[in-house]
């Protein structure tokens, strides 16, 4: 097997990004969509750290750290919105949310 290079990490990151995207696009359940999003964020983190290693500095690490924090905040708020929505509508499929718009 060839030695693992930055390219490998980037490819892995891309695959994970794809998986996340797949979840986001196909799933109707908002909670799972959100999970897909978290997966995509993580894929990005992976790339960050890979680049940090590639460039021999810690910027990526710091950045990832902060991204994780932001992800937590994002998850909290997004799920809160869902709860509020659920209380309003009694379900949380995304289509219902679209109705809300109109």
């Amino acid at each position: 097997m060839p030695p693992v290079t930055t390219a490998h990490y980037v490819m892995l990151s891309a695959i994970l990004m794809g998986v996340g995207l797949f979840g986001v696009v196909t799933r109707k359940n908002a909670v799972i969509v959100l999970m897909g999003l978290e997966l995509m964020l993580n894929a990005a983190n992976l790339a960050f750290v890979a680049f940090a290693r590639h460039h021999g500095n810690l910027q990526g690490h710091v950045f990832t750290f902060i991204v994780i924090a932001v992800a937590a905040a994002e998850a909290a708020v997004a799920l809160s919105i869902m709860i509020a929505l659920y209380r309003l509508k009694g379900s949380i499929t995304l289509d219902d949310a679209q109705e809300l718009k109109g």
């Binding site: 924090a69 937590a72 905040a73 909290a76 799920l79 709860i83």
Partner: protein
């Protein structure tokens, strides 16, 4: 001015290099034993579940065994009913505060170890100021939560 980095209160000597602290090795080497332990744990758990499945007494299938315990009565309504939103709020607050605490840990390391040799370490005064702001915001969040009565269990949300 003592020879030892002074800012470590009550006196700490830099510890001797631990045996397994792999000098030049990467993080994965440090963590490998943990992974091994994890593997052991998995084997242990799965193993004991399997063993008890194999060695357990063969029981008869009874309809009653497939109903949950409800003090000996038939179930009254489904278990997965709606829960107080309180629990959810606790979880939300937990992750937010948890993240804040996670930020504090590296800060504590910087704070307790302002080794001049390490280069680029922030000064103590700066650190103090930073954390003051941070803690103030943390406390503000906490105060808001308490004031909103989120943690009052006797009141419905």
């Amino acid at each position: 001015m003592p020879a030892i980095p002074a800012a470590i209160p009550f006196g700490a000597l830099p510890g001797a290099p631990p045996l397994l602290a792999a000098g030049g090795a990467g993080a994965i080497d440090d963590y490998l034993p943990v992974l091994i332990m994890l593997g052991f744990g998995v084997v242990f758990a799965v193993g004991s579940l399997t063993i008890s499945w194999l060695l357990g007494e063969k029981g008869r299938k009874l309809r009653a065994k497939d109903t949950p315990y409800e003090c000996g009565m038939p179930i009254q309504s489904h278990a997965h009913e709606r829960f107080g939103v309180k629990f959810y709020l606790v979880a939300v607050l937990f992750i937010l505060f948890d993240v804040e605490i996670v930020f504090m840990y590296p800060w504590a390391v910087s704070w307790g170890h302002p080794d001049p040799n390490r280069g680029g370490a922030p000064a103590m005064g700066l650190l103090l100021a930073e954390v003051a702001v941070f803690v103030a915001i943390l406390v503000a969040g906490w105060w808001y939560v308490v004031k909103k009565g989120v943690l009052e269990w006797h009141k419905e949300d």
